[in-house]
């Protein structure tokens, strides 16, 4: 019996080696360990084994059964492993991925506008807006612009037949916001389109994009203006960016400044680039707003504020080294693709 067991074991292990798939493996299990299998048949002969040999034969039987069971199990794992390996055979992982619908891109102006908005929101500004078809009052009069100011004529500004005009700057939103305000402080930014009657060329568009800012309260100073805008431009251009304020003139702010940042162009020395206009709100603006509101919420004796405005198209051109502003309105997909995230 012992020798029978030995030879069974040898046969079984040989059969396992020969088995090449799950079915063959199952056949081996049935042939040896199944109800009618050879090992099962032999184990039924245990009852005829003399008592003194029972222990030895029993142990051997167990040993053979375990060896076959383990053999089947490991062969099963080996076969599965071979199948799994085969499943990934020939895959070239260096091929490009499936594109799906592909990705588009946000327009560079949207990206720069969003960067500006996110930065200023962190400084506590909220968004405001106003109509692009404006009245002379909101675009000029209330902004302390004299009736015979050069901008106020049909050569430079688009008018509608009814006397309204297309706003020449987003500063009109300052007036709209102050007219509607219920209380101070006001701390708003207003991104939006503005219009000037300029021939379209490499540096001009007749419709362009600005971002206006206004902070009005009872103790706003030039120091607030300086600190806020320095922080803003360092967020946009980098923490070490040099920012300077040059005295300038705007009808609706006094004192007024133009802001330059020092930037390096490729292969050239860093130079000052004009980027924005700003200033302290002129008291005449508060007076005009009060008159329009019919109250004295913006008391020109005590209310102070700062305002700023910047051209987003120009900012995008500077940041991305875009050489011709018309790229921004032509929407050539080869251009837009360059700004994909």
């Amino acid at each position: 019996m012992l020798s029978q067991l030995d030879s069974l074991k040898t046969d079984a292990l040989a059969a396992l080696v020969a088995a090449q798939d799950e079915a063959a493996l199952e056949a081996v299990r049935v042939n040896f360990l199944g109800k009618k299998g050879s090992v099962t048949a032999l184990s039924q002969g245990m009852k005829d084994v003399p008592v003194d040999q029972k222990k030895e034969v029993g142990a051997k039987l167990n040993d053979v059964r375990t060896a076959i069971t383990d053999g089947i199990e490991s062969k099963k794992l080996a076969l599965q492993a071979a199948l799994d390996a085969k499943a990934v055979e020939g895959i070239d992982i260096t091929l490009p991925g499936r594109p799906g619908t592909g990705n588009g891109a946000l327009h560079p102006l949207t990206q720069i506008r969003d960067l500006a908005i996110r930065t200023l929101r962190r400084l506590g500004f909220i968004l405001a807006e106003g109509p692009e078809i404006e009245t002379e009052f909101h675009c000029f009069d209330a902004l302390n612009t004299p009736a015979d100011h050069p901008a106020r004529n049909e050569k430079d500004t688009f008018y509608l037949p009814d006397g309204r005009l297309l706003r020449t700057h987003t500063s009109s939103v300052q007036i709209r916001t102050m007219e509607a305000a219920k209380s101070l402080p006001i701390r708003i930014i207003a991104p939006g389109a503005a219009y000037r009657r300029d021939e379209i060329d490499a540096t001009h568009l007749s419709v362009f994009n600005q971002l206006e800012g206004l902070y009005v309260s009872n103790d706003v100073s030039l120091a607030d203006l300086k600190g806020t805008l320095e922080a803003f431009f360092r967020e946009i251009f980098g923490p070490n960016t040099a920012v300077r304020f040059r005295p300038h003139f705007f009808p609706f702010t006094e004192p007024s400044f133009e802001i330059d940042v020092k930037l390096e162009a490729k292969g050239k020395d860093a130079r000052w680039i004009e980027i924005a206009g700003c200033g302290m709100v002129d008291p005449a603006v508060f007076t005009a707003v009060n008159k329009s509101r019919g109250d004295n919420l913006f008391d020109p004796e005590t209310t102070t504020g700062f305002a700023f405005g910047l051209g987003l198209d120009r900012l995008a051109m500077i940041l991305h080294s875009i050489t011709d502003i018309r790229h921004l309105i032509e929407n050539d997909v080869r251009f837009l693709q360059q700004f994909a995230a």
């Binding site: 619908t101 500004f125 015979d148 030039l222 007024s256």
Partner: protein, 798 residues
């Protein structure tokens, strides 16, 4: 405005400042420096030299080896120019000379031949643009003379003077400002060799009809002048700032304008008929001006006239017939103060601007009118001779434009954010700007404003002056973030950004097109609005504020097709402008999408993916943020606009979301589209309504559902929406969802009749209380099928 440093230096010693320092000084005074041009050389190391002989360079065809006498001896110079001969005198830059542009001359070798300096062209010395050859000098010049003695060097600044500072529109005005900022004293007025000025030559009738438009008019008669070319110094002054010398009298008036800011005019006295009248033009009056053009004037234009006609458009331009020529012997010199708004109106309306009108419309110093006349008279007598009256004929009087301003110094400190700014500092700043302190207490001071600073009227104007002088370096940087509650504009912006990002993730590119479109683009409008026409468009390409974004996207598609793009996926978010029946207009934010061509980029997986159809676009729309819980019902519009097919309104209940359409194939062919083009325009506010408020959680099903498929044959024109509506209306308690999974038609009519289609749906059954038995599901399913065949012209395949 062009400003000559050498001219400025006649008023102020600026020799201790470098050009960049001066440029900074101006910049931080609020005068923008738009350009700096260095002319000639300051160095003594460029001298007059004579070419004694030259030979061909042994190693270079284009070079010559010259022996040159620099006044101290002979030098060898290798030269590339060809325009000289032996004996010519030329400027020679010696080793160590620094030329304009910072180029330093060194001894060296050119192709192995020593060269001990450089002979120069005009351009290399900052004189003009001529770079075609050496600057050949007059044969009379002395060898060895430093070149800057021959042609004095100069620096010309191109300055942008802001409209509030007309007092800076002259060399003296700028010198006054620089003196205030630097503390350098102004040199006194110079003596122009005033010659004899006998008493009154003759009576002159001066009549001022319009004192509001011309408060002050003066005239001086000068007789016996000899008009000719101006002397060298005067010509050089004018030329240095870009003015063309004409004749001595005209040049003098131009010089005085650029020197003092007082604009003048000289008439040929013998061509005037009788007395001078300052009056309004008569309506339609014609005037031939010095530029040779004839102008038609209106009643509110101001003219200077004699007894017969207008002889000058006041403050803008003189008349051709009475202008000073070489033949003139007697002149009338006009110096006046005209009201800025009048000059501006006339100048704009006529499209005629001059250096004179530029100054008058900004406002000149009313107190310098007589001084301007005086200086011009002295110059005329000294240069053109003649005799002049020592009295000035005057009509009207100089307006008082300035007065006193009281400054609350605490307020100044507060507005500037500089609590440490002392009263003494403030006073010193205002005093050096020429303001006179009339009174001062601890917190307040009262100031007399000089006549040339009419821009200083209010306390805040003085605060601006202080800010300008101390500069922002003195002001600390302060930053206070203030919490302000957000409002609807903020939420609308955030929603718009979510939409943008979703579309980018679906492979769409964001476009930004101009809001002003051409009339010819209006038929591309989707949504039926009428745009708002501009009264004064610049060109026919941009006449109307768009009533729809689609015209812009179609133009974008056309451009990209021309550039060879095959796959078009664009969107734009932006404002449209709708004209309302009552004449008003409404501005509205919209989203437009345009797609055409392959649904995915070509790749090794799929070289040419299938082209998009309208369902592709519908799929993009239904998956937009804001619409995930909204069921969209397209409703064909009664009359599709001519440029579109399939135009449908997209509705959610009774709310209009927007429109979808296929661009008409004929319009698509216009733009050479290679695939059908689909467009949609949606109202952002309507999309946003679907996304308000946080989503509410619904308990997850605890028991599994079961599905049953149904296939049926229906008429080909039965809309999907009808079938969907039928399933949606079923009250069968266990039936919870339905979804179409196949639509089959056969245009050949072989597999199914042409007028029929086969559609297949999968229906889901579930109970919230238990796991369903097959039999209950089957029974429910059969009830639905029976109802289906009753309600719709459908044959269920069993």
């Amino acid at each position: 405005m062009q400003v000559s440093l050498s001219w400025l230096s006649t008023h102020l010693d600026l020799s201790s400042y470098t050009v960049p320092q001066l440029s900074d000084l101006l910049t931080f005074a609020g005068v923008e420096v738009e350009g700096i041009e260095e002319r000639g050389v300051t160095t003594d190391k460029v001298v007059v030299a004579q070419i004694e002989s030259f030979v061909q360079h042994p190693n270079a065809d284009k070079l010559s080896v010259c022996q040159v006498n620099d006044g101290t001896g002979i030098r060898q110079i290798v030269c590339g120019a060809k325009n000289f001969k032996a004996g010519d005198k030329v400027p020679l830059a010696l080793p160590g000379a620094v030329l304009p542009g910072g180029f330093t001359i060194k001894e060296g070798k050119l192709r192995d031949v020593a060269s001990l300096g450089m002979m120069c062209s005009g351009k290399e010395l900052g004189l003009g643009e001529d770079h075609s050859g050496l600057l050949i000098l007059d044969a009379e010049t002395t060898i060895g003379t430093p070149f800057n003695q021959l042609v004095p060097s100069d620096v010309v600044f191109d300055l942008e003077i802001t409209p509030n500072r007309p007092d800076l529109l002259s060399h003296l005005g700028l010198a006054r400002e620089l003196s205030a900022l630097t503390g350098m004293p102004l040199k006194g007025q110079r003596d122009y060799n005033k010659t004899s000025t006998p008493t009154k030559l003759e009576t002159l009738n001066l009549k001022l009809e319009t004192p509001s438009a011309c408060p002050l008019y003066t005239a001086r008669l000068i007789k016996g002048v000899k008009v000719g070319p101006s002397p060298e110094w005067l010509r050089r002054r004018l030329e240095s700032i870009g003015l063309r010398p004409i004749n001595s009298i005209v040049d003098i008036t131009n010089f005085v304008m650029m020197e003092m800011g007082q604009s003048l005019h000289c008439f040929d006295l013998d061509k005037l008929s009788g007395s001078i009248v300052v009056r309004n033009a008569s309506e339609g009056e014609q005037m031939l001006a010095l530029d040779g053009q004839s102008y038609t004037l209106l009643a509110d234009d101001l003219v200077i006239a004699d007894q017969k006609r207008a002889v000058a458009i006041a403050g803008v331009m003189g008349g051709e017939e009475t202008g000073v020529t070489e033949a003139t012997t007697n002149v009338l010199l006009e110096a006046a103060w005209f009201t800025p708004s009048n000059i501006r109106r006339t100048s704009r309306r006529l499209g005629l601007s001059s250096d004179s009108s530029y100054r008058f419309e900004r406002g000149i110093d009313p107190q310098q009118v007589a001084g301007g006349s005086e200086l011009a008279t002295k110059l005329i007598l000294s240069i053109a001779g003649g005799t002049a009256e020592d009295v000035l004929h005057v009509a009207g009087e100089a307006p008082a434009l300035t007065g006193e301003v009281t400054l609350d110094e605490d307020r100044a400190r507060k507005l500037l954010g500089t609590p440490d700014l002392t009263g003494d500092e403030i006073h010193a700043i205002l005093e050096k700007l020429g303001l006179g302190k009339k009174a001062a207490t601890k917190h307040e001071s009262r100031w007399h404003i000089p006549s040339y600073r009419a821009d200083l009227q209010r306390p805040v104007d003085l605060i601006e002056e202080i800010a300008r002088v101390i500069g922002l370096d003195r002001v600390p940087s302060k930053m206070t973030a203030v919490a302000v509650p957000s409002d609807a504009t903020d939420r609308a912006y955030d929603f718009a950004m979510t939409i943008r990002q979703a579309l980018v993730n679906r492979g769409c590119f964001e476009a930004q097109t101009l809001r002003l479109i051409a009339d010819a683009q209006l038929p591309d409008t989707l949504g039926g609005g009428t745009g708002v026409a501009v009264k004064n468009p610049l060109s026919e390409d941009h006449t109307t504020l768009r009533p729809s974004i689609i015209p812009g996207l179609i133009a974008t598609a056309a451009l990209n097709i021309r550039q060879g793009a095959d796959r078009l996926r664009f969107f734009e978010l932006g404002r449209v402008f709708l004209k309302l029946p009552n004449g008003n207009s409404r501005e509205e934010e919209r989203l437009a999408i345009l797609i055409s061509g392959p649904v995915s980029p070509s790749s090794w997986h799929a070289r040419t993916p299938q082209a998009a159809d309208i369902h592709e676009l519908m799929g993009i729309i239904t998956h937009l943020p804001g619409l995930s819980r909204v069921s969209i019902e397209p409703k064909a519009v009664k009359e599709s606009p001519a440029n579109f097919l399939l135009t449908s309104e997209l509705r959610a209940g009774n709310r209009n979301l927007g429109w979808i359409a296929q661009l008409h194939p004929s319009r698509a062919r216009d733009i050479s589209a290679r695939h059908p083009v689909y467009v949609a325009e949606l109202l952002l506010s309507a999309l946003r309504q679907g996304s308000t408020g946080p989503a509410k959680f619904e308990e997850l099903p605890r028991f599994p559902g079961m599905t049953r498929d149904v296939a049926m044959e229906v008429p080909a024109d039965l809309p999907h929406a009808k079938v969907a509506a039928f399933f949606a209306s079923q009250k069968e308690p266990l039936f919870i969802a339905s979804e179409v999974f196949d639509v089959f038609t056969d245009p050949t009519g072989q597999k199914i009749a042409k007028d029929r289609k086969s559609i297949a749906w999968t229906l889901t059954y579930r109970s919230p209380e238990k796991t369903l038995e097959t039999a209950e599901v089957d029974a429910a399913h059969q009830r639905i099928l029976a109802a289906l065949e009753k309600a719709l012209p459908a044959t269920v395949r069993r």
